[in-house]
């Protein structure tokens, strides 16, 4: 038996903050798939096929930080450490970070019944996001 769809079109649902974050979560997920694919293609174009294992290529593709290719057999990591790839790494990192911190807040909200607790959940997680984002960007740009 086919279940009847119970979804409403956006025109009937309206654009609330919840709807926006629902769309944001999906948009950032699609963005991350794009970044990963771009990282894999970039690594292969820069000569990874003879000098990196599959695991090492994936590690680079997840965040294209030059530190992620430091211990591979690549003879020269200079192309991997260009400003372009650091920008790509920063984009992936901030996209993943914002997607992730929203996900953590949503999961923890399910276990926090009081408004006060949910507010603190937001404050603490947002504060943690800014600290980790600053540390992550420092690592990417100084590696």
């Amino acid at each position: 038996m086919n279940a009847k769809p119970r979804t409403l079109p956006l025109s009937k649902r309206g654009m609330s903050f919840e709807t926006f974050m629902w769309a944001f979560t999906r948009a950032t997920a699609l963005g991350m798939y794009g970044f990963i694919l771009f990282g894999v293609v970039g690594a292969l174009a820069m000569g990874a096929q003879h000098s990196m294992t599959f695991v090492e290529v994936l590690r680079w593709a997840l965040v294209s930080n030059p530190g992620h290719v430091e211990y591979t057999n690549l003879p020269d990591i200079t192309p991997f450490a260009s400003m372009f790839w650091r920008l790509v790494a920063s984009g992936m990192f901030l996209t993943a970070g914002s997607h992730g911190i929203h996900g953590v807040i949503v999961v923890l909200d399910d276990y926090l019944p009081k408004d006060n607790q949910r507010n603190w959940n937001r404050y603490l997680n947002m504060a943690m996001f800014f600290v980790v984002a600053a540390a992550g960007l420092y690592i990417i740009w100084t590696a």
């Binding site: 769809p5 979804t7 699609l30 798939y33 695991v55 994936l58 953590v104 999961v107 980790v132 690592i139």
Partner: protein
């Protein structure tokens, strides 16, 4: 007084939750696993750059095959399940009715990719010895 609807994980999986509930729980476990891993990995790398040995120690744990296999599970399951959710959400009227079939396809893709990735992680670790 509202109904008490809290049930244990095993009860939820045996009752109506089954496949969709399992993917829901594994998606959350995978997401939280990655969030904790990435946060600690970034902070460990940051303190390692400041010359603190604790950062090096934590990142060495992350390089171990058991941990890599765990994080590969989190990443691959969360990514493949997330892609299924996104595709179904983009075309709800056409696709939501096939969500159980979509979950079956998801598991086939996940098992193939995860097996390949786990074997690669182990052979890479053996190659480093």
């Amino acid at each position: 007084m509202g109904l008490k609807r809290d049930v244990s994980l095993s009860t939820a999986l045996r009752y109506k939750g089954q496949g969709p509930f399992l993917t829901f729980i594994l998606h959350r476990i995978g997401g939280l696993g990655m969030a904790i891993f990435i946060t600690v990995h970034i902070l460990a790398t940051f303190v390692e750059k400041q010359g603190w040995a604790i950062g090096d120690f934590i990142n060495d744990i992350y390089m171990s095959p058991p941990f890599q296999i765990f994080i590969l599970f989190c990443v691959l399951f969360h990514a493949i399940n997330g892609l299924r959710i996104t595709i179904l959400d983009l075309f709800p009227t056409r696709l939501i009715q096939y969500h159980r079939q979509a979950i079956a396809i998801e598991w086939v893709i996940f098992i193939i990719l995860f097996s390949f990735a786990a074997v690669s992680a182990v052979t890479t670790a053996i190659g480093r010895l």
